[in-house]
């Protein structure tokens, strides 16, 4: 594993975290403003939007370190006609630009909350397209470990899982009290997404066993040499996004548990993040190209 792949781990995870956080935050904003004037409730979820921008800027900087010639970065754009990597790069730049616009409108309080939400959801749609482009970038016929439905499923679930937990962490950081309904919603989403990840993994490993020599080599590495990493990854995601989220759900409506909820939200995000970093490391480390 070389530094170029670390750059891709950082780029893909930061981007996915960012997209997931935007979607979670917009959902929280819509939910918080459902019964009252949204202009009053919206500011509680301003900070996550600024965090989304910061994460995307970091993601784009990380991506530069993957290139042999950083000075030629603009050259990654031209082949939109056939290259999913070109589409991924353009989508990442457009998504970042839209998040900057959204953050600016929120910061300067330009326009109505309704208008900002429209722009927010357009940005989220671009984010979903970016996740799709990112998935298809890796789904190459010569890479059987990547060329499966597990790639988009993993990218989307990772994005949403880190997104909801990241949003919860930022919300409890900025506010002593967060609507217990919001915390409960985040906890349920997290548990469902962890369930999806845990379901995907055995199906993925079983699929690899049927896909020829290169895929078998990937499988062997995943359950052999890097078996410890696979187990650790699943345990961390289960502990963070599953167990702690369940505990968060249970304690969400208890007023005296506010401090505990803060610790729980931070811990859940941290555990899931480390689990996903290990998972992405495995993604790159265990793929083998077919042929010679």
């Amino acid at each position: 594993m070389n530094t170029h792949e670390w750059a891709l781990i950082a780029f893909t995870l930061l981007t996915q975290l960012s997209i997931g956080m935007l979607i979670a935050t917009l959902t929280v904003r819509a939910f918080a403003g459902r019964k009252t004037n949204p202009e009053r409730t919206a500011p509680i979820s301003d900070l996550p939007i600024y965090v989304v921008v910061a994460l995307m800027v970091l993601a784009l900087i990380a991506a530069l370190f993957h290139l042999g010639k950083i000075t030629h970065v603009i050259g990654a754009v031209p082949n939109l006609a056939t290259s999913w990597m070109s589409r991924e790069v353009v989508a990442a730049v457009v998504f970042t630009a839209l998040t900057v616009l959204l953050a600016f409108l929120i910061w300067r309080k330009i326009g109505t909350e309704f208008m900002r939400m429209i722009i927010g959801w357009i940005t989220a749609l671009m984010g979903l397209y970016l996740l799709l482009a990112m998935s298809l970038t890796y789904m190459l016929p010569a890479q059987p470990a990547w060329n499966t439905l597990a790639t988009p499923v993993t990218f989307f679930t990772t994005s949403l899982l880190l997104g909801v937990l990241g949003t919860a962490a930022v919300l409890v950081f900025t506010h002593a009290t967060v609507d217990s309904q919001i915390i409960k919603g985040i906890a349920v989403a997290s548990i469902v997404l962890v369930g999806l990840e845990l379901l995907t993994m055995p199906l993925y490993l079983a699929f690899l066993s049927t896909q020829g020599a290169a895929a078998l080599r990937s499988l062997s590495m995943m359950i052999g040499e890097y078996g410890w990493a696979l187990v650790l990854r699943l345990l961390l995601v289960f502990a963070g996004g599953g167990l702690l989220a369940a505990y968060l759900f249970k304690n969400a409506s208890t007023a005296k548990q506010e401090k505990m909820s803060t610790t729980l939200a931070y811990s859940a995000f941290a555990l899931a993040l480390v689990g996903e970093v290990i998972g992405r490391f495995l993604f790159y480390a265990s793929s083998f190209r077919i042929g010679v």
Partner: protein, 206 residues
């Protein structure tokens, strides 16, 4: 329209001397670690013991000289985000090193391992079929260097008419992915893609 150009390699004649690989390195002044043409050694079979002696039974070994296949369906060209790879009318696939951004994506996509990263230049490089020689009516350096006359070069349809259409000796990958412009003449022990009876040898030389 110009005809698709291709390489021909007679596996039955090839002894694995790697003169083609060295001629390629010399002609293109390739640095350490970059081999546009590689010679794969594939072997397998078993020996049996009879009356205290080891007797060869199904033992086999052969060599497959391979470079960029200048494919009909060049996936490297399709995935390159920079549009740095193009295909000439005669089918030769070329990397424009001025446009390449060194992202290595083409090396993930090519099942023949043709595009290779040049650390010094920060870009991908690969076999260009010695197009400068070809444009002067000559054959590529590897073909000219083969001491056994095991290699040839010319329009794909003419090579196929003369030698057949075999293009998937083991350990090369399934040709349906890229449709390689290549013809191999098999030896009587040559296995086909997907064979599990043998394995590649001397990997450190590849």
């Amino acid at each position: 329209m110009a005809k698709q150009l291709a390489f021909y390699v007679d596996i039955a004649k090839c002894t694995g001397c790697k003169a083609c690989q060295i001629a390629c390195k010399d002609k293109n002044d390739l640095p350490m670690g970059i081999r546009w043409r590689r010679v794969f050694q594939y072997e397998g079979g078993e020996w049996i013991q009879k009356n205290g002696q080891m007797i060869p039974s199904s033992v086999y070994a052969y060599f497959v000289s391979a470079a960029c296949m200048h494919c009909e369906n060049p996936v490297c060209l399709q995935v390159c985000p920079a549009g740095a790879i193009h295909q000439r009318e005669d089918g030769i696939v070329l990397i424009d090193e001025k446009k390449c951004i060194g992202c290595r994506y083409c090396s993930w996509a090519c099942p023949y391992g043709a595009p290779q990263f040049n650390e010094d230049l920060g870009v991908m490089t690969k076999c260009n079929m010695c197009y400068d020689l070809v444009d002067q009516g000559e054959k590529p350096a590897c073909v000219q260097a083969c001491p056994y006359r095991a290699m040839d070069f010319g329009p794909l349809d003419e090579l196929q008419a003369e030698h057949g259409t075999f293009n998937n000796p083991a350990p090369l990958p399934e040709p349906s992915i890229t449709r390689p412009s290549v013809v191999y003449g098999p030896s009587n022990t040559t296995k086909v893609t997907g064979d599990t009876s043998g394995h590649m040898m001397n990997l450190e030389e590849l």
